[in-house]
C-alpha cells in the first residue's frame, strides 16, 4: 500500500472511530446534579484528543514520509514489510486462517464445548503453522489438554463451557463428571 493511501486510510479509521464514539456519547449525555461536566464530559475530551492527535499524525506522516521511528520491544524485521516472494494466494489464505481459526474456535466453544473442541483446535493450529509430525501433534495436544484440565478444572474449579448443541453437551458433561 502506498504511503499516502496508508496515511489516508489510517486517518479515516480514526475519524470513523472518533465519530461513532462521539455520536454514542449522546446516549448518556444527561445533566448530573452532583457533577457539572456530566457522564459524557470525560469521554468527549478523550475523543477530541484522539481526533486532534490523529490529525497531527496524518499531517506528520504526509510531511515526514521516509522516517521510521522506534517501536519499543519490536525488532526491525517485525515492523518491516514481508518479502514479496512470501506473498502467494495460498500464503494469504493461510495468513488469514491464523486469525480466523481462533475466532472459529471461540465461536464454536459455547456450542460444542471446551472439552471436545480444544484438542481439535490445538492440533489444527499446529498443522496450520506447518507441524506435520504425528508424535508432536498428538503429544502436544495431550500435554496442553492435560495441563489445562489439571490447573483449571481440578485446581481452580473453572466451569469451562460444556456446549449446548445436542449430543455435545452430554459428551462434555460426561467427561467433566469422569474427571472430577
Amino acid at each position: 500500500m502506498g504511503k499516502l493511501k496508508f496515511t489516508i486510510s489510517e486517518a479515516g479509521i480514526w475519524a470513523v472511530i472518533t465519530g461513532v464514539a462521539f455520536g454514542l456519547t449522546y446516549q448518556f449525555n444527561e445533566p448530573l446534579q452532583q457533577y457539572r461536566y456530566g457522564a459524557a464530559g470525560w469521554p468527549r475530551v478523550i475523543i477530541a484528543g484522539i481526533a486532534l492527535f490523529a490529525l497531527i499524525q496524518a499531517i506528520w506522516s504526509h510531511l515526514h514520509p521516509s522516517r521510521k521511528g522506534r517501536i519499543m520491544g519490536q525488532v526491525e524485521e517485525q515492523i518491516s514489510e514481508l518479502p514479496s516472494q512470501a506473498r502467494g494466494i495460498s500464503v494469504h489464505l493461510k495468513h488469514l486462517a491464523t486469525f480466523a481459526v481462533p475466532l472459529l474456535y471461540l465461536f464454536l466453544m459455547p456450542r460444542m464445548g471446551f472439552y471436545i473442541l480444544t484438542p481439535l483446535f490445538v492440533a489444527g493450529y499446529m498443522m496450520l503453522l506447518g507441524e506435520r509430525r504425528l508424535l508432536h501433534l498428538v503429544g502436544t495436544t495431550l500435554f496442553v489438554y492435560a495441563l489445562t484440565i489439571v490447573i483449571f478444572l481440578k485446581l481452580l474449579f473453572v466451569p469451562l463451557p460444556v456446549g449446548n448443541w445436542p449430543g455435545f453437551y452430554d459428551i462434555n458433561s460426561l467427561f467433566v463428571s469422569f474427571i472430577k
Binding site: 457533577y35 484522539i50 517501536i71 519499543m72 483446535f121
Partner: protein, 497 residues
Amino acid sequence: MVELFFKGFILLATDPFAVFLFFAALIIGLFFAALPGINMVTLGAIILPFTAYLNPTHAIMIYGVIYVSGTYGGAVMAILFNIPGSAENAPTAFDGYPMTQQGKSGKAIGAAIVSSSLGGMVSAIVMMLAAPGIARWAIHAFGPPEMFSLIFFGLSIVAAVGAENLWKGWISVLLGLLLATIGTDPSGGLHRFAFGTYYLLAGIHFIPLILGFFAISEVFVQAEKMVTKTYRAPKVGIAFPSFMEFWRLKLAIVRSMILGFFAGVLPGIGATLAAFLSYNEAVRWSKHPERFGKGELEGVVASETANNAATGGAMIPLLALGLPGGAITAMMVSVFMIHGMDPGPLIMTRAQDLVWVLFVAMFIANLFIFLLGYIETKTIVNLLRIPFRILSPCIMILATVGAFALRNSLLDVWVMFLAGIAGYFLRRSGYSVPGIILGVILGGLGEAAFVKSMQMLHYDWFAFFGRPVCAVLLAAALLTLFVNVLKSAKQMASSQV
C-alpha cells in the same frame, strides 16, 4: 528495629509449618505469575477462603510472599515471549524480548532476577524503618487532585515511549483511556458504551486486554512469519550478567528503587506506573537513549527494580493506616477481617509479631528470588528450544482459559481475541500497546480522581496549581509534553532539510 527483625526471623524459622507455607507461596507465586492470564491476584483470590483455617500470621505472610514472588515471576514470560505476566512487567518486555531475540535471554532474566531481588530487599528495609511516618505523609499529601496530577504526569511519560512517534504514543494512551470509559461512569452511575448488555456494565477488564495485546498479538505476528517462511527461532542464551554490568547500572538501580518505593506507597498506582516511570527515567538519563527498545539491559533493570521496590511501599499504607493500594493488599485487608482484626495504626503495636514476621518473610522472599531465579535462568530459557508452532496453540489455550476464568465469561475471551487482532495491526502501524494498557488501567482511577477533584476545588482549574504537589506534577507533565513536542518538531524539520 534489629531486635524486632531477629524476633520475626526466629518466629518464622522455628515454625516448620510457617517455613513450609513460605516456600509453597514462593514457588507457587513464581509459577502462577509465569502463566499467561493467571497471576498473583488470581492465586490470592483462590486461597483467600482457605486462610480462615490458618492463623493470621501465616495467612498474612503467605500474601506478602506471593506479592513479592508474583511481581518478579511475570518478568520471565515478558522476556522470553513478549507476554508480560501482569501490567507491571510490560516495560520489561520493551528490552527483554529484543534481548531474547538476540540470544541474550539468560542475561535479561538474570538482570530481572538481580534487580527484582535488590529492589525488593531495599524496599523491605525501608518499609521496616519508616512505615508509619511515610504512610502519614503520603495519605495527607495525596488527595484526589494530587492523584489526578500524578496519573496525568504518568500518562504524559508513557505517551513518549513505546510508539513510532509522539502522536501515535498519545493516540495509544487516549485509546486506552477511552476503553476505560466503557461501563458505568463514576459520577452518576450512568451506563456508557454498554450497548444494552449487562456484560459491559462492569467495564472491560484489563487482564484480557493484556493477554490480547501482548500474548495473542505476538502469536499472530509469529504465525505470520511461520506461514510466510520468514520465521527465525530465537537463540538460547544462558549467560548471567556480570558484576561489572550491574555496577555500571548502579545509578539506574538506585533511581528505580526510589521511584518504585514511593509509587508503591500511593493507593492504586503502585508497581505498574512505577515500572513505566522508572523505564522512562532510564531512557531520559541514558547517554545512549537510542539503544532502548532494542535490547538494552538497563531497560530491564529499571523496570524490574521499580516494580519490586513498589511491593515494600505498598505495605506501608496497608499496615500503618489500613488502606490497601491494590488487589493483593485488599485481599490482605480481607484476611485481617476474616480473623477479626482491624488493619490500621494499632496493628503495629497490637500485632507486632505478625507485622515483623511479614516484614522478615518479604525480605527473605526477595533473597530467595535471587537464589531460585539463578536456577531458573539456567533452566527456563530452554523453553525457547520448543518450536513456536508447538508453543503457539499452548499459549492460546492458556490465555483463553485464563481470560475465561477471570469472570467465567466468554465475553472476556472475545475481548482478548479482538484485542489480539487489533494489537497485531496497531503494532505493525507503530502504536504503543503498553500505552493502551496503561491508559486502560489508569483511566478509571484518573477519571474518578478528576471528578472528586473538581467537586473539591469547586470547578476551579487553577486551584490545582495552588497545591504544591499538584503544581510540581502538572508542571512536570506539561514540561514533558512541551519537550517532546519540541523534539518531534525538530525531527520533522531535520528530515525535510
